[in-house]
Symmetry: C2
Subunit: 246 residues, 2 copies
DNA sequence: AGGACACTTCGCCGGGCAACGAAGTTTCCG
DNA sequence: CGGAAACTTCGTTGCCCGGCGAAGTGTCCT
């Protein structure tokens, strides 16, 4: 009758609006974005977007920093992305409507960023390559789709476990990847809706992604979250890390 | 502009309604419930509850099995509970309004079930006792509140790790706990909003909870999710497992 | 049978909220 | 110092959806 405990409903209501969901999903990219860009992305007017963003900021899901006459919006904390992923796990896949959409979906399926690391087919291939070369260990062969779904069900706090091996450390260092020493867990996994397999998350996943960007082996696409493999990346990724490509 | 990817917004919309959120939270209990009980719990009429439940079932968040003239509703899959927890992590704590509410909140704070295992103060004490007696190992002392918040942020897929020790296995077996051999992870942890500490989840957490029920050391309260410690439990829990009580 | 019970269906009412456009505010640039 | 760009504020409009009660359907109990 009256709300009790944490007020789940009102948080959910923030995500329940399609425009706000699009905004949040866009921000999952990890990169900050401006109000007008988000408005364009959601296909709504500037004033409407402003109202939405005000609500999101007010609820502490999103933060703003003012940079002159523009403002940069970001996700406030990792939990927000986690909640979005959890909801996505519940959502039934939506039928594709337009061609433009289907190409975009296809691009997302190929490779995209998930908060701050690589996901999609490319992310999964990278993970598999690291396992195959012995750069990563553990997981009990859980890279397979069926099991991936299983342990997705047991999240959060699952005891499935990957670790970076010495060979992996040297290989990545040779590539110029800064092995992080932060408090943030080094190796995590993440299961996504397109591939239903693990890909590399955590501090290491983010570090590798950053490095691939500076090497210009991958590049952000025109639409948010989409990642393109550059010709250089197409050459060097199989060479240096053993990633298989089509 | 148009929905893309999984339709997060519509799933969120299902949770965005306060009555439905109450229903889902009640079902988080783990026990099935009837339509009228859920209606009463949410403080709405039977017809309204019926409409809500129809939507939840239609969206595959909840399942029904007909048992004669009554129907038993359950959460359809663990992901639903996970999504609710993820949203709760985002929700700001709500100010308590009525006295009735505050007593119920206090009861929840003391001890409750979280999906299928013990949470609240009792759940945390149990976890601590298991650690203190060496029945559980690992976690790097992460049972402390500050760190618990930290790794909650890094969920899901965190690499924090607890394990059942041989001494724990014998002690629990002696108590009559069936050590599970299912695929489900044996030991998981779970951080909750009241205590901000770990408590024991996973197959083992569920098994222990079941056993305590059959021993009649704990009992379901009148309101959903609330657990009461029986006099027998108050005597034997400190004795057998080293749980400290006030 | 018949009556109580559990739940669903239907129609109606009312509130909340997203969307827009126009006008105001702040900041940057030439 | 203007004028443009980036957001915000405000007032309006229209729709969606939760709530109820009354009537309908199926099931169990005696």
């Amino acid at each position: 009758m009256v709300p009790v405990d944490p007020d789940i409903a009102s948080v959910a209501a923030l995500i329940a609006d399609n425009s706000r969901a699009l905004i949040l999903k866009t921000l999952c990219d990890g990169r900050p974005s401006t109000g007008s860009a988000l408005a364009a992305e959601a296909g709504i007017g500037a004033s409407t977007a402003s109202a939405h963003l005000a609500k999101l900021v007010d609820a502490r899901l999103v933060t703003v920093v003012r940079a002159g006459r523009t403002r940069r919006y970001r996700l406030a904390r990792p939990e927000v992305a986690a909640a979005l992923e959890a909801l996505a796990a519940l959502a039934a896949p939506l039928p594709v409507r337009s061609l433009r959409q289907s190409t975009r979906v296809a691009a997302l399926r190929r490779s995209r960023t998930c908060y701050d690391h690589l996901a999609g087919d490319l992310g999964v291939r990278l993970m598999r390559a690291l396992l195959d070369r012995g750069h990563l260990t553990g997981g009990d062969g859980l890279h397979h789709p069926d099991r991936a779904v299983l342990d997705r069900e047991s999240a959060p706090g699952t005891d499935i476990h990957y670790e970076l091996t010495p060979s992996g450390a040297t290989a990545l260092t040779a590539l110029g990847v800064q092995i992080p020493t932060t408090r943030r867990p080094l190796v995590r996994y993440c299961v996504d809706w397109t591939e239903r397999r693990h890909h590399l998350a955590g501090a290491l996943g983010a570090a590798i992604t950053t490095r691939l960007h500076t090497l210009d082996w991958i590049r952000h696409g025109s639409t948010p979250r989409v990642i393109h493999l550059t010709p250089a990346g197409r050459v060097h990724l199989p060479d240096c890390l053993g990633v298989t490509l089509d």
